[in-house]
């Protein structure tokens, strides 16, 4: 297993370099102009000077190599300096965002907490809801519970979050006035009161996203349970006189979870990608909002860095899912 993991990690390096080049080319060839959003009153020659000062005058391969140097050499060195208090020295230019003119990595670090709190929490909540629903739906297939579960899943699947988000804002913020409609990213949890406020402002975005996540995962769980419930080993277990509870929750559930765990692991990178629409609707201003604002503003270094980090996470969690599969299912061996 270890050699397999190492082999996969080594293979990931050329893949990631290819991905970074493709992202860079895609962004660069797409028509986007960082000065396009400026007011009409700013004359064309000033716009040209702004573009030059952003380095857009250099040829494409120089800009790509510069980004590679900044991202793969300068940023890690900078991180080492910060973490261990070393002084490596040298004048290193970091990856700078065009919109804010500040280091992209600092922006990402700043955005990470609210994204992990809101989107991450919604994933956890979604999983916690989905598993029992999937289990009961499968065990009592075609019962009213299964029907309702199927209906809710279909709603969660098919109704987009920009609709459910605005709907819950109108109901719970405007009509009832229970929760704030705008997320306060500067809020610090210091005592019980502030913790309650944090819960209040997280409820709506977490609920909207959790519904979406739960819909997906509960269907997987249900299908996987159904596959296993008809297996011979289940009949054997029952024939041995085991309690129904043990049969379902120990024998069937453990085997059914194997593919579901993989699906859950593969979904983790999405948390870091943020939920672009939900973050916009609730003004959470996390990584998803950073990405969309950067795309709108033609801020190529930020888009490039963010999408590349997402690519790294996706490759990493693919590997995690494969390894987990091997750990959970003794029938699967990679070496």
């Amino acid at each position: 297993m270890l050699t397999y993991t190492i082999r996969r990690l080594l293979l990931a390096i050329p893949t990631l370099i290819a991905i970074s080049l493709i992202i860079f080319l895609l962004l660069d060839l797409a028509p986007s102009d960082p000065t396009a959003n400026l007011p009409l009153t700013i004359p064309p020659d000033v716009r040209e000077k702004i573009r030059q000062s952003l380095g857009l005058g250099d040829p494409i391969y120089i800009r790509y190599l510069l980004w590679c140097k900044q991202f793969f050499v300068n940023e890690p060195l900078n991180m080492l300096e910060q973490w261990f208090g070393w002084d490596i020295g040298g004048d290193r230019l970091r990856v700078l965002s065009w919109q804010t003119r500040s280091p992209v990595v600092d922006l990402i670090v700043q955005r990470m907490p609210q994204t992990l709190w809101v989107v991450g929490m919604s994933y956890v909540v979604g999983v916690l809801i989905a598993l029992p629903i999937g289990i009961i739906s499968a065990y009592r297939q075609y019962s009213w519970f299964d029907q309702v579960g199927t209906f809710v899943s279909m709603v969660g699947f098919s109704v987009p979050t920009f609709f459910t988000g605005v709907l819950v804002i109108v109901i719970f913020s405007v009509w009832l006035g229970w929760f704030p409609s705008i997320y306060d990213t500067t809020h610090q949890v210091t005592d019980w009161q502030s913790f309650l406020f944090q819960i209040k402002q997280m409820i709506m975005p977490v609920a909207v996203l959790a519904l979406f996540n739960a819909a997906q995962i509960s269907r997987f769980m249900r299908a996987s349970m159904l596959d296993n419930l008809n297996q011979d080993y289940v009949r054997t277990a029952r024939a041995k006189g085991m309690r129904e509870r043990t049969v379902v929750l120990v024998h069937v559930l453990r085997n059914s979870l194997i593919p579901v765990v993989t699906v859950i692991a593969l979904g983790v990178p999405q948390i870091f990608g943020g939920a672009i629409i939900t973050e916009q609707v609730f003004k959470v201003n996390g990584l998803g909002q950073l990405l969309i604002i950067s795309i709108q503003g033609g801020d190529l270094p930020t888009v490039q860095t963010l999408t590349f980090i997402f690519a790294v996470l996706i490759i990493l969690f693919n590997l995690v899912a494969d390894v987990l599969y091997g750990v959970l299912d003794p029938r699967i061996r990679y070496d």
């Binding site: 028509p31 000065t35 396009a36 959003n37 400026l38 007011p39 009409l40 009153t41 700013i42 004359p43 064309p44 000033v46 000077k49 702004i50 573009r51 030059q52 000062s53 952003l54 230019l93 700078l96 965002s97 919109q99 804010t100 003119r101 500040s102 280091p103 600092d106 922006l107 700043q110 955005r111 804002i169 913020s173 405007v174 006035g177 704030p180 409609s181 705008i182 306060d184 990213t185 500067t186 916009q280 609707v281 003004k283 201003n285 909002q289 950073l290 604002i293 503003g297």
Partner: protein, 559 residues
């Protein structure tokens, strides 16, 4: 006169105590990316920065200039501007300090000019410093700006939210190519304004606290400000007008009925103010026929029927401007008959007849000019049919306008074909594209434009003969109708030599009237700025000539 007005505007009511009104929440649905207005031309950044950074003089809600960091506004009359209009001398107020306690000196003013004009800095506001040859310190509080040419309107540098004074000590190592690397300075500039930055989260939220060194000891009334950014217009409006979470929301570009429904909740109110933004129809005086090849839409070929003033006048008379405003903009618009609708002293009243729609009059005018309806109802003369292509950018309101106007023109016997082009292409100015508003490969086009600040000199010069976009100028230029009149050019030249405000106003009005009365441009709607504030927030004076937050020092909580 300006001085007297300024004294009234600045006079402190001295009722409240600094910071006594607690906290105020502001929401901008576009989030500011930086606090340095020189590194971003965006309105959101200018306005966020205006809480901290201030210019020598700025504009009030009526477009009058008021001294801000300067003692008074220099003019030729008070000797501050030289007789040859080449130098202007500003004097800073006495005892001004930065929020860190150090004194504001002429060195800071000179530095601000150097910072923005560094060729490698990519300063977005460098146009404000056009023609500045030198800025010299006379003493610690006095600077003289010297222009390379005579400047009848010398109030570009250091005036308005676009060109504030930054602290030389803080930005000393940030000149030119180094500018973007000074993240701390760009995110937390030290200023003279009523607030200072405590935390800046780019593209998200800014926290401010009252500047303890602010020059008026009684202000600002608020101790802290949260400036949240992001989301969408409707959400921002909802947060102020429906849930009351926020006190002030900027730029409420919403459909009139949506905004009215929100305002009816009674938590806040919608305020609007009008500047110079005019939605207008441009008439092509040249022939855009593709058969003409390279000479298409150039002055070599006059338009077959739009060169007839009677047709142009009929187009304007057939339009019901009141209805357009009602459908498209509500409180955020008002009908206008001028392409130069403001400030007040420049506003002509000579063309107000256009307010009333006059379909019968338009028909008669065309009849008299010899354009008679053919078998299909479209008027024609000597084989020329009144059939036009009408283009604009893709935008729901503009497409509504197109459909309405097409109908009105059909009523007077003019056939119209509609076309809309994506805004980034239409306004993109790419000389390789046939669809830009400069190339104007159509008979009629519609868009909105305005000018920065209050001085219309360069705006009115847009319709000079030489400003016409042509293949020789790579289709650059602002004279979309390709209007060419010696009289008009003479007025433009005269304005460039005239320093007295009243004289300048007369000239600007004359130019506006000429364009209107020859029906070169058909103005439709004067589009205003709309914002919303909570009923408990006092002191808001909406200002379209400067930052909307220009008087935040005077804001207070109404009890």
């Amino acid at each position: 006169m300006l001085g007297a007005l300024a004294a009234v505007a600045i006079a402190p009511p001295a009722l409240a105590e600094r910071g006594s009104d607690g906290h105020v929440n502001i929401i901008y649905w576009q989030a500011p990316s930086t606090m340095n207005p020189y590194l971003s031309g965006g309105t959101k950044e200018l306005e966020a920065a205006s809480l901290v950074l201030e210019p020598l003089a700025r504009y009030d809600q009526d477009g009058n200039m008021v001294p801000w960091l300067a003692e008074s506004v220099p003019t030729v009359d008070n000797g501050g501007v030289s007789a040859d209009l080449k130098t202007i001398t500003w004097k800073l107020k006495e005892g001004l300090v930065w929020s860190d306690g150090s004194a504001v000196t002429s060195a800071d003013v000179i530095f601000s000019w150097k910072y923005c004009t560094d060729p490698e800095g990519g300063c977005a506001q460098s146009e404000k410093y056009n023609d500045v040859a030198d800025v010299k310190a006379v003493d610690d509080r006095t600077v003289t700006v010297t222009f390379g040419v005579a400047k009848p309107f010398p109030y570009g540098p250091f005036v308005g939210a676009q060109a504030p004074i930054i602290q030389a000590a803080q930005f000393a190592d940030c000149l030119g190519a180094k500018a973007p690397e000074c993240t701390d300075a760009n995110f937390g500039p030290i200023g003279t304004g009523p607030f200072k930055v405590t935390e800046f989260r780019p593209n998200d939220v800014i926290s401010f606290e009252a500047n303890s060194n602010y020059r008026d000891p009684a202000k600002p009334a608020f101790a802290t400000v949260t400036f949240k950014g992001g989301g969408d217009t409707a959400a921002a409006g909802r947060a102020v007008l429906e849930t009351g979470e926020f006190d002030y929301a900027w730029n409420m570009q919403l459909a009139p009925d949506v905004l009215a429904a929100m305002a009816s909740k009674g938590k806040g109110q919608v305020v609007s103010a009008f500047g110079t933004l005019v939605e207008r129809i441009m008439i092509n005086l040249t022939n855009p026929d593709p058969a003409l090849g390279d000479e298409r839409a150039t002055a070599k070929h006059p338009h077959p029927f739009l060169s007839d003033p009677a047709v142009r006048q009929a187009l304007s008379m057939a339009v019901d401007r009141e209805l357009l405003v009602e459908i498209g903009y509500g409180d955020a618009g008002r009908p206008t008959c001028n392409v130069l609708p403001a400030p007040e002293i420049y506003k002509s009243t000579a063309n107000d007849g256009c307010m009333a729609q006059d379909v019968e009059g338009a028909k008669k005018l065309l009849d008299d000019a010899g354009w008679v309806p053919g078998a299909d109802g479209v008027r024609q003369k000597e084989g020329v049919r009144l059939s036009m292509l009408y283009q604009t950018s893709t935008n729901a309101v503009r497409q509504d306008f197109q459909a309405l106007i097409k109908q009105w023109w059909a009523d007077i016997g003019i056939e119209t074909e509609l076309r809309n082009i994506d805004a980034s292409v239409f306004f993109g100015g790419d000389p390789g594209s046939p669809d830009t508003f400069q190339k104007f490969y159509a008979d009629i086009e519609m868009y909105a434009n305005n000018f920065d600040g209050t001085d219309p000199e360069s705006y009115m010069a847009n319709w000079e003969c030489k400003q016409a976009p042509t293949p020789e100028t790579q289709w650059q230029g602002n004279n979309m109708p390709r209007y060419c009149s010696e009289d008009y050019d003479a007025l433009v030249a005269q304005m460039a030599q005239t320093g007295k405000l009243e004289e300048r106003a007369k000239l600007a009005k004359a130019m506006n009237d000429k364009l209107m009365q020859e029906y070169i441009i058909v103005p439709l709607v004067d589009r205003g700025r709309v914002s919303a504030h909570s009923n408990t927030l006092g002191g808001v004076v909406l200002n379209v000539w400067d930052s909307e937050l220009w008087n935040i020092a005077d804001w207070n909580r109404m009890k």
